[in-house]
């Protein structure tokens, strides 16, 4: 039944995406591990981890597209869910260090020893267990989204007001996680990781496994999001986006539907964050920065809002561009480029890369396309 739910009405675009990611999951680690370093086909470990990072962003973008593209909830705080998932993974990785830290304390992470703490705070209990930590990767963002959404959606906070409070949410968490006495490593965050499930995080094979795992989770996230949007619930969610009060008068409890997709989306963002942390080797409060959440919105807009595949594409393309831009002589101009890109896409490609490409393709095949309604303006 689950397979039927996930694979119902699979279209060609989705199938191509799945095949591509599945291919990457095998090909990239193979080119890294099996091809000798001198060969032109060899993929260096650093490149592999960099692309692993892009794919984490792709998953984050899909999670945002689920709420923004389909339900019209413009969350400007999705980075908070990503970071919370990342912190849950980071806490597990910190506990794995054991007595190998600078201070050699078998229980307390280095920063706690440094702060003269005598025992582990209660909220760090259990994070030495991988299954527990993975549960928290889902629960911490999921629960926050549920409680936040329960209040916001019941009170019918919508549009720009909702965007502002999601932004405030991530900013508040940024300030909180900066504080040393919160017990999450303050400004420096969590880093110097050693092992994951007993394997060295720095090792080439572990990196390859993490990359493959990211691909697997991206596929899973895409299938779940797609299963949701093509179901009748997905139609209700689109209906809410386009005519919220009409949907209510049809007898749908709009707040519950919003809460459902918002919570699922937050869990997905959490998983993306959890995969991101071991591949970049650090998680600190800057991940909560409002600018990160806004950038995520730009990825989705650039790739194509309300298409899932487009969002993932946007996540990869914009971040690839960012890597190129910020590493050369153009580095000081990256933010200008990003801003210009957003303006360009909003004005000339309102459907994003994927939507524009699709329109172009259809126009080529059928010279007189059926009239379609204009997309609703982004809130």
């Amino acid at each position: 039944m689950i397979a039927r739910f996930l694979l119902q009405d699979m279209d060609r675009r989705g199938a191509v995406f799945l095949a591509l990611i599945a291919g990457l999951a095998i090909l990239i680690p193979a080119l890294n591990l099996l091809v000798p370093a001198g060969s032109p086909f060899h993929v260096p470990t650093s490149t592999m981890s960099l692309w692993g990072k892009y794919l984490c962003y792709a998953l984050l973008a899909i999670s945002l597209d689920l709420v923004w593209g389909y339900c019209g909830i413009l969350s400007l705080g999705h980075g908070a869910f990503f970071a919370l998932g990342g912190y849950a993974m980071g806490m597990y990785l910190m506990r794995q260090i054991g007595s190998r830290g600078t201070y050699g304390n078998p229980i307390l992470p280095d920063f706690m020893v440094f702060l003269n703490w005598k025992e582990l705070p209660w909220y760090w209990y259990g994070f030495d267990s991988f299954p527990f930590a993975m549960l928290m990767v889902l629960l911490a963002p999921g629960l926050l989204a549920f409680v936040f959404g329960w209040f916001a959606f019941r009170s019918r906070v919508t549009g720009v007001y909702l965007s502002i409070i999601t932004q405030a949410l991530t900013y508040a968490l940024l300030l909180a996680f900066f504080r040393n006495d919160m017990g999450f490593g303050g400004n420096n965050g969590l880093t110097d990781f050693k092992d994951i499930l007993g394997f060295n995080v720095q090792a080439q094979a572990t990196r390859a496994a993490l990359f493959s795992m990211t691909c697997v989770m991206l596929i899973a996230g895409f299938l779940i999001a797609r299963g949701i949007v093509v179901s009748k619930l997905g139609k209700v969610v689109i209906a809410i986006r386009d005519a919220e009060s009409r949907t209510r008068f049809l007898g749908y409890r709009v707040d519950r539907f919003k809460l459902f997709v918002f919570t699922v989306s937050a869990c997905m963002a959490g998983v993306a964050g959890a995969l991101y942390v071991p591949q970049v080797g650090i998680i600190n409060p800057s991940e909560f920065a409002p600018a990160n959440s806004i950038e995520t919105v730009i990825w989705v807009a650039v790739g194509g809002r309300g298409t899932l595949v487009g969002a993932a594409l946007g996540g990869v393309v914009v971040n690839y561009a960012k890597t190129i831009f910020t590493s050369g002589f153009m580095a000081p101009y990256w933010l200008f480029a990003l801003g210009a890109l957003f303006v360009f896409v909003t004005i000339f490609m309102p459907k994003g890369i994927l939507g524009t490409a699709q329109d172009w393709w259809e126009k080529r095949r059928r010279p007189a396309p059926a009239k379609t309604p204009e997309p609703a303006p982004a809130e």
Binding site: K235, V236, A239, R246, T247, L250, G251, A370
Partner: protein, 254 residues
């Protein structure tokens, strides 16, 4: 018509008594009383600002009255319920401006309206049963959009959107339909067809029609309630109402 059964306060399907509501001091509805019997079709007219839309908002739970009783089916207090709960009780609403889901196909618009459980879990794992598909097909036939089922609703003409919305009301299968200006912006031919459609619906549903178009109301041939400044000014057959001096003064006597 028929005496209330025990537990019911009234035999009427819809019972409004002494309802008042004001917005920032402006009394939109003042002491409005109105009853609709099961199976009845009623036309409501009144000049702009008479409180017609506010009355619909109160019945459908969008606006809460300051004072007054609003009972449905003789025993359910509508003032305590929200929009979704009232819709699920069996009160459907068609808006003045046609509101359909532009980015859904015509068929999906009907599917979303189709009477069914509206919970998150049920909609997530929904499968359309054969009987439900047949109902959708029937409705598409009634509103003459069967051939256009795969088209996006946003691409329909104004009149077709009005019909699609009436089709969505049919799919909801409500006990009471509130229809706000169904003939607005329609050609004469479309208006006549809409009147036929509504009369057909009224055979097994109770209907309240708010309308400006006198010709349209004459075609419906039902009891008319005239609203003025938030309360009932006159009630009765159209000929009798249009002979009423006060009505002529405030509404008909341009």
């Amino acid at each position: 018509m028929n005496a209330p059964t025990p537990g019911q306060l009234t035999s009427s399907l819809l019972y409004l008594d002494g309802v008042s509501v004001s917005f920032d001091g402006f009394k939109a509805i003042r002491g409005l009383s109105l009853t609709i019997e099961p199976g009845e079709m009623r036309a409501i007219i009144g000049p702009n600002g008479a409180g017609k839309t506010t009355m619909m908002d109160i019945i459908t739970g969008k606006t809460k009255p300051d004072v007054g009783t609003v009972m449905f089916g003789g025993s359910i207090d509508l003032t305590r319920l929200d929009e979704a709960a009232i819709a699920n009780l069996g009160i459907g609403r068609k808006f003045q401006k046609p509101t359909v889901f532009d980015f859904h196909t015509i068929e999906d618009n009907i599917l979303l309206a189709l009477k069914a459980q509206r919970t998150v879990a049920r909609t997530l794992f929904w499968k359309t049963a054969a009987a439900q598909q047949k109902r959708i097909d029937d409705i598409l036939g009634i509103i003459k959009l069967g051939d256009a089922r795969e088209r996006l609703a946003g691409s329909l003409s104004h009149g077709q959107k009005q019909w699609l919305e009436i089709g969505m009301l049919l799919a909801q299968d409500p006990k009471l339909l509130l229809v706000d200006e169904p003939a607005a912006g329609m050609t004469d031919g479309e208006t006549a067809e809409t009147a036929v459609l509504l009369k057909e619906i009224a055979r097994d549903h109770s209907v309240i029609v708010v309308e400006h178009d006198m010709g349209f109301i004459r075609e419906l041939g039902v009891k008319v309630t005239v609203l003025h400044e938030g309360s009932v000014l006159a009630e009765g057959p159209l000929d009798q109402v249009s002979a009423n001096e006060r009505v002529v003064e405030v509404y008909l006597g341009r």
